[in-house]
Point group: C3
Chain length 258, copies 3
């Protein structure tokens, strides 16, 4: 079994990111995001800056209506409370029944046993994309398993973030090391990446391409913001501005330049 | 039945906005806001920047105490959960019993049947102001009914937002087209306008005048912010700064200049 | 009974603040924060900017795991809902049992009778630090009692904020008057100070020193931000940037300069 996936061609990845970002801005897809209160403002603002239209309710009685009216679903387990857990139990089947792609972000799954069991249940329902950091992936995959193995085991695309960000579907793989350390100093940036990936899933035909498009767009905006920020406050502002104004040309230049 | 209300004199509207904004800054009224978690930080910051003192608890057991200690109540249905629904059921009668003006913002009422029924129940209790976009108004008013008809039917002032913003009490009307497209790219800007209108209701004797004062102040701050923003991140920052520093003179200049 | 505590030496306070801030940045301690949704983004961002690692869940079933994995606990009563109240009932004994310092912020305790009773119950469990404004302290301490008396009565360190900020353990006292009026125009700044104090408690051996370090760091960042802000929007951004970049030298200069 191959454990390090082959590299996806860089120029093809750049072209995919540019195409999907343009489509996101043109089509303005609705994306339903089930996330924590601390992550809501930034996740919504990131989707709006990139061109999508977020909705956020976790009310179990209405969540299916919102999922069906959306083109992608984002399921984030940060600060998971009872209401959101119930909403997720209804939202995921609705997404599956109506052919909506959905993303799982198992925030801090390594810090609470109860959350880990719930995340594993959700993994068995095969999220279109799993977005997590390496500690969370290790907690779900078991010791020594790398993202590609997890992708194959659950039939999902894994977007693993860290010093180097990695996308894998178990056979194809893509890596990018453009992040800024300031990203770690703004709360809910990882959650915002998951939300943005939901936006790309809404307009992409292929989950692997959606994850590539999202991570390139996100990291390039972060790289642009880091270039002018004086700290985490101005970083977040510059990041949203960059996401909004980013051109495909700039995107290619930044990815190639590193 | 007249469907397009007569235009309210522009200079009179500008004078009202300047007077009420000055009063808001001087009196610093308490305003209780029942809103969604995604809208809370911006709504609170908009009220604070304009001069009011927000409180936000949705705990049913204490909400009446907070409403009575406030001079206006804002009821926002975005992400409506069970607790907030119960809190609203107690807060609105408390506002009515103690003569506090209250505003209804029926967020995304067009996207959930359950929420629509609740909004209609609330409309029958005659909110002082209804703040909504055109899709939400169409959902509540029925096909073909315009804001003036809704205002007359429910004895409320309607503040309808869109490319052109409109205030009507069913006989008088005011329109302003100063908004910026960037407002659509910042989450909960509409909710923040509703919160600000609550602040103006707290210091105004007349609901139609409060709505005029709020929409002029809001749109002028947006126009100022759009002039210097590079995207939705810097727009929100510049908007809060403008709201805080805005002078009556600047307000008049911006409204007349368009 | 002495009612005005003796002044703590300024140079010693500055040295303590610099040492603790450096330790916070180096050790990056986990801090668990139970707070209101309106306060979450800023509290988390303030902790991250200063160097700590916040977690925020209020789920009663998992809160003990998070408290035990953290080095300090922050208990904030703003917008207190039933879930968070239950979480606090479990988190505080867990902190006490595992020797974690904990801070109580009795937000708006003067505005709801139910909240006051809960805050008094918590005070009897002797929080390591009580952070409150003068109205909240008066509500808890009884008429005419000053912070030093409250500190002695409950065996806690009191960090009382207002035009002048004051730290007292009932015998030692420290005062600083560096705040900016713009702090009052940004929502949840007081809650953010409480969160930051939790970060300092995580790395300090002494609660009085932790409170001094936190208030000096917070006020100096506020002073730096006020110097370049154009209103409350840019103030918050500059505040986070200042907190992130602040050097011990700058800290000393600003405190002495006033």
């Amino acid at each position: 079994m191959r454990t390090t996936p082959e590299d996806f061609p860089l120029e093809q990845a750049i072209a995919i990111a540019g195409t999907l970002l343009a489509r996101l801005r043109r089509e303005r897809p609705a994306v339903h995001v089930l996330t924590s209160p601390v992550a809501m403002p930034l996740s919504a603002n990131v989707l709006l800056a990139a061109g999508a239209e977020p909705s956020l309710t976790s009310r179990p009685e209405v969540v299916e209506e919102f999922v069906i009216a959306s083109r992608a679903l984002v399921v984030n387990l940060g600060m998971l409370d009872a209401d959101r857990e119930t909403a997720i139990e209804r939202a995921v089947p609705a997404a599956l029944a109506h052919g909506r792609p959905w993303l799982l972000d198992p925030v801090k799954v390594d810090q609470a046993g109860k959350r880990r069991r719930f995340a594993l249940d959700l993994l068995h329902r095969q999220p279109t994309v799993l977005r997590a950091n390496h500690a969370e992936i290790a907690c779900l995959a078991g010791a020594g398993q790398e993202p590609g193995a997890l992708a194959r085991a659950f039939g999902t695309v894994v977007l693993a973030t860290g010093t180097v960000d990695q996308v894998t579907d178990g056979s194809r793989g893509f890596r990018i090391g453009l992040g800024s350390p300031l990203m770690q100093r703004v709360t809910a940036m990882g959650c915002a990446l998951s939300a943005l990936t939901g936006g790309f899933l809404a307009v992409a035909g292929d989950a692997f391409e959606a994850a590539i498009g999202a991570i390139i767009t996100f990291d390039v905006a972060g790289d642009m913001a880091a270039g002018e920020a004086r700290g985490p406050g101005s970083f977040k502002i510059a990041f949203l501005d960059a996401l909004y104004g980013l051109s495909p040309d700039e995107l290619g230049r930044r990815v190639r330049g590193k």
